[in-house]
Symmetry: C2
Subunit: 251 residues, 2 copies
Amino acid sequence: MPEETIVTAAVLVIGNEILSGRTQDTNLAYLARKLNEYGIRVREARVVPDVQAEIVAALNALRSRFDYVFTTGGIGPTHDDITAECVAAAFGVDLVISEPIAEIIRRRPAPPEVMESRMRMARIPRGGGLIDNPLGPPGFFIDNVYVMAGIPRVMQQMVDSLQGKLRGGRPVRSRSVTAFLAESQIARRLGQIQERFAHIDLGSYPFHRDGRYGTTLVMRGTDEAGLDAMLEQVKRMIVELGGEPVDVQSG
Amino acid sequence: MPEETIVTAAVLVIGNEILSGRTQDTNLAYLARKLNEYGIRVREARVVPDVQAEIVAALNALRSRFDYVFTTGGIGPTHDDITAECVAAAFGVDLVISEPIAEIIRRRPAPPEVMESRMRMARIPRGGGLIDNPLGPPGFFIDNVYVMAGIPRVMQQMVDSLQGKLRGGRPVRSRSVTAFLAESQIARRLGQIQERFAHIDLGSYPFHRDGRYGTTLVMRGTDEAGLDAMLEQVKRMIVELGGEPVDVQSG
């Protein structure tokens, strides 16, 4: 097999409300699934507070290590929305007013003071491009860093609008199967199957449901034929250990 | 006011299933709230895959910067459970069998092969201590790194068992109030209030509910009198801008 192109990403979640536990982040999971459809693998995620030095340090660490960085949060009109200036600082460029964003903002009339606050959302790092947002002011990108809203509904529209605009490899596919066997019952045989299919990740996720212990086995990789062959071996293992393979899924 | 003791923590979530979007992490939010009760502030979180080099690098970056590191995930009996060896590698120590954990594991009879897999869960870094777990094998800690299960029900029992055993400062308290005003309407006045109370974080969280736009304002800090005074100013601002303060909460 020729060497496969793997395109990687990190997600940077910005916001005190996630680190205080006030808000449950759901953006990472959505981004991970959606980016995988685009052929991009999320390899790391970080959550940092609304503190410039922390945001800049995380941006610079991640943008040099991964093909893409996707940020969520901190692009609204208030004092705690500092993502745009942090991205500009990370790249060592100015913030400038994006005329296309300013025009969208001006369409909705408001008193001068309110308009001035809203215009904060028109500032993007010099040299940046826009990420469409049918629900309000666009997000932006500069180089490999994509800056999106924190509100899930808005973030989802933004990442959906990037379809076809990002470089990707082959999406990761999955197979999964569940058995009412404990992890320790299957651990040794599972390790042997993993060794035979080194290019496919085999994860094991125990659960307790309806008073019974069980394990869901998840295979992830780009080799569809390999996934099918591995699934067959996992199912056979379950039967041979006295279990029954249930809830078989392909994704 | 005398300088306040601030005790900080990072959360390290370990697991491919979180980065693929298959599993929605809820451990961070639980940990953030529970640790705050113990007087510990979560200042960063990272999610890394089941890859030794990534886990070791994250552990070493975080344990040197924060008072505590709490990890979740990767301590089961299967091949993808590599957290214990990664923590040992990060500290440059051996893995040893914890006799108290081995004894708990031996209490439940099993064939030799299954018992051998289960005994993986008895391995802890040399010099480590245990974290109680009424639901199964204990977690462990070494120096300032606390290693817990990924299954939320088990992780919660583990962190609950740490009550009274960790060093903490004063818990962060909060006040919040909601208004059906857009963020941009309140942005300038809000920034002025934030400037007057520099030691209290004032966050602004917009939402769209029942066809109306609104904003929830959250104040977080340890100065209860300051929080009360700030809340009054925020409520007054809402009224002066033509809104009505609703859903006032103290936490």
